[in-house]
């Protein structure tokens, strides 16, 4: 299933969201890295998700797939973030762990 690019971009956008002050509330027991670390991590993961898609499907199809999955991932993230922010954060972690396994499926 070629969804690993979408899972990585879901995690990437979660980092970028949590790097913003207004999205850091409501996650109290969780100790978050600093905003700066999250921002850098988010952009790195976003680049990784693009690289994974391009590596897997070639430049033309890879970029198309990357943009498509990125849009769906961030739309789902925003829906989940507005409803259950903790679940969104947890899902980002789970997705990131699953992504390498999906890549070899």
């Amino acid at each position: 299933m070629p969804y690993e690019s979408g899972l990585i971009s879901f995690a990437a956008f979660t980092c970028l969201a949590l790097a913003m002050k207004k999205h850091r509330s409501g996650l109290e027991p969780l100790v978050l890295p600093s905003e700066r670390v999250l921002r850098v991590l988010g952009w790195c993961l976003l680049a990784l998700s693009a690289a994974v898609a391009v590596f897997r499907l070639g430049p033309a199809l890879g970029v198309t797939v990357w943009i498509g999955q990125m849009c769906v991932a961030v739309a789902l993230l925003v829906l989940l973030l507005s409803w259950r922010p903790k679940a969104a954060t947890a899902l980002a972690g789970v997705g990131l762990i699953c992504a390498p396994f999906l890549a070899f499926l």
Partner: protein, 542 residues
């Protein structure tokens, strides 16, 4: 600026630009919104066009056979039934279609023009004619999404005008939206107008690459119709342009001397060698049984972004290759890729669902925009003015009644007897009578009740689909899950998911609206307010 402006200050250029863009955005979006919503929803359904067609002909089961066998079986059938036709178009089955489709055109007869013959459905393995209920299938949603069920060319023109409005609304919307990055992840529920604005922004911004791509490529697909003058200025006939752009397959007049048509298997294999192993999608045979017969193979486009198929033409009598489509130049390749991006035929099942979800965000963007127009202008403790009532009723008709219409189309497919003459038209009528009929009936109810009840009805209609499918066919959800028929199982599950979505919308609409608090009070549009609103709030007017 070193001169201090005196009060009242004229709006700074940036804000003036934003306000004029907000005005354009609101009115372009409103005028085209109702049609755009229908175009988005039916267009999104069209990503599953072959699957919908398969579901709507449950008598047919897919069998997978090699292209050579399917093509040869179809040719054998045509040679046995109508060997003297001028042309046979053979659409080969693939992993998304169950049957071979054949469209045959008889030789022109100057005395009596031959009647247009219906498309044949053949068993891919044996070439035997298959009987299945008459239906437009997924083709209906696809055609409606750019022809709007209007006579040619008005439907395509109306769809094009709406797409142009949409493109302008996207650009003006991006300019007006000042907090694109600050509010990137923001979605707040149960805050009245604020929430509608958030939902509109989120559905638009987060899938912006898709919205811009789908609108632009949709327009470009029909650009030769909307802007015919460059072609007219440079070519005498449209055919000359087509030949110059895409190449013309070698064609010769029939000689009248009979010659047997060679087997197409070796030609398909030769084409496969030229196309790095790809199979043909369509086989076009001209003048079968003549010494001048030709066999043109069109390449399947699955997996490649460019939707314009390559083609190779062989002589049917000698098997020699006569011509092949020129390798496309940059302009033709770009046009082909744009068409491909719009249609999404290249998409694997995984990516097809991505396309589907992105299409739904498009419908959500248009829908929330339409609702926002009303919510923003509704004043508490004041009777709504006529325009507001009109827009709200049209919103109900377009947003809440169309899903019921689409469900009615699918329900009609199962409920109208399979052998009733003219049933395909009846299915289409069921969709429009339900859609528009429901919109008219909903006028009898107060607006809030109308939203709840029409959405509730859509929930019931979609939830009824798997039930009716199980009752009228032997391919119900339980049976298809047991036999591993993923198309039918997936279709039924998707219908249940859509029913859940409609139900959630009805439930949300039935919640008591929040009394507008001080913070989130409904305000007049900034453009109409006499004094300039504070910078932060002027954005809220969008």
């Amino acid at each position: 600026m070193n001169v201090r402006p005196s009060f009242p200050a004229p709006a700074p250029p940036a804000r003036a630009l934003r306000q004029s863009m907000a005005w354009i955005h609101a009115w372009l979006g409103l005028l085209a919104g109702w049609i755009l919503f229908a175009m988005f929803l039916t267009g999104t359904a069209s990503y599953f066009r072959p699957e919908i067609t398969q579901w709507m002909q449950p008598e047919l089961r897919s069998t997978s056979v090699p292209a050579e066998q399917a093509a040869q079986a179809a040719i054998a059938h045509m040679q046995a039934t109508t060997p003297n036709d001028q042309q046979w178009f053979i659409y080969l089955p693939d992993d998304r279609t169950a049957v071979t489709r054949v469209f045959a055109r008889a030789k022109p007869n100057p005395e009596k023009p031959p009647a247009r013959r219906p498309e044949l459905k053949l068993d891919p393995a044996t070439g035997q004619s298959l009987e299945a209920r008459d239906t437009r299938g997924g083709e209906h949603f696809y055609r409606f999404h750019f022809q709007l069920q209007l006579p040619h060319p008005w439907g395509r023109w109306l769809a094009g005008v709406c797409a142009m409005f949409m493109l302008a609304a996207i650009i003006s919307g991006v300019i007006t939206h000042k907090r694109i990055f600050v509010d990137f992840f923001t979605l707040r529920w149960r805050k009245g107008q604020r929430s509608w604005l958030d939902a509109h922004n989120a559905s638009a911004v987060l899938a912006l690459p898709f919205h811009a791509m789908i609108t632009y490529t949709g327009l470009i697909t029909l650009v030769a119709m909307y802007m015919p003058w460059p072609v007219k200025a440079n070519f005498d006939k449209p055919d000359a342009f087509t030949a110059a752009a895409y190449g013309a397959p070698a064609e010769a007049k029939a000689t009248g001397t009979p010659a047997p048509l060679l087997p197409v298997g070796p030609m398909i294999q030769a084409a496969g060698r030229a196309w790095s192993g790809d199979a043909p999608r369509t086989v076009v045979i001209r003048n079968p049984g003549d010494t001048a017969s030709t066999v043109t193979l069109l390449r399947a486009t699955g997996g490649r972004l460019n939707a314009r198929p390559d083609s190779i033409t062989f002589s049917g009598a000698t098997g020699q290759e006569l011509s092949r489509s020129p390798s496309p130049g940059p302009a033709i390749a770009t046009a082909g890729v744009m068409l491909g991006l719009h249609l999404g035929h290249f998409a694997s099942p995984a990516l097809r669902w991505v396309y589907f979800l992105l299409g739904l965000t498009g419908a959500a963007m248009v829908g929330t925009g339409l609702v926002l127009w009303v919510v923003k202008r509704r004043k508490p403790n004041a009777a709504p003015f006529f325009g507001l009532k009109l827009v709200e009723r049209l919103n109900i008709g377009a947003i809440a009644c169309l899903p019921s219409g689409m469900a009615a189309y699918l329900l009609a497919n199962r409920l109208i007897p399979a052998d009733l003459p003219g049933r395909a038209e009846l299915e289409v009528k069921a969709m429009f009578w339900t859609w528009f009929g429901l919109a008219v009936v909903s006028l009898q109810r107060p607006a809030r009740r109308a939203w709840i009840e029409t959405l509730g009805l859509a929930t019931l209609a979609f939830a009824a689909l798997p039930v009716v499918n199980a009752a009228t066919t032997d391919r119900g959800l339980v049976a298809s899950l047991r036999t591993g028929d993923w198309l039918f199982a997936g279709f039924d599950l998707a219908m249940l998911a859509i029913a859940a979505l409609c139900g959630l919308a009805a439930f949300k609409a039935s919640r008591k609206p929040q009394p507008p608090s001080q913070k989130t009070s409904v305000r007049a549009p900034a453009a109409a307010s006499p004094k300039p609103a504070p910078a932060k709030e002027s954005v809220d007017a969008l």
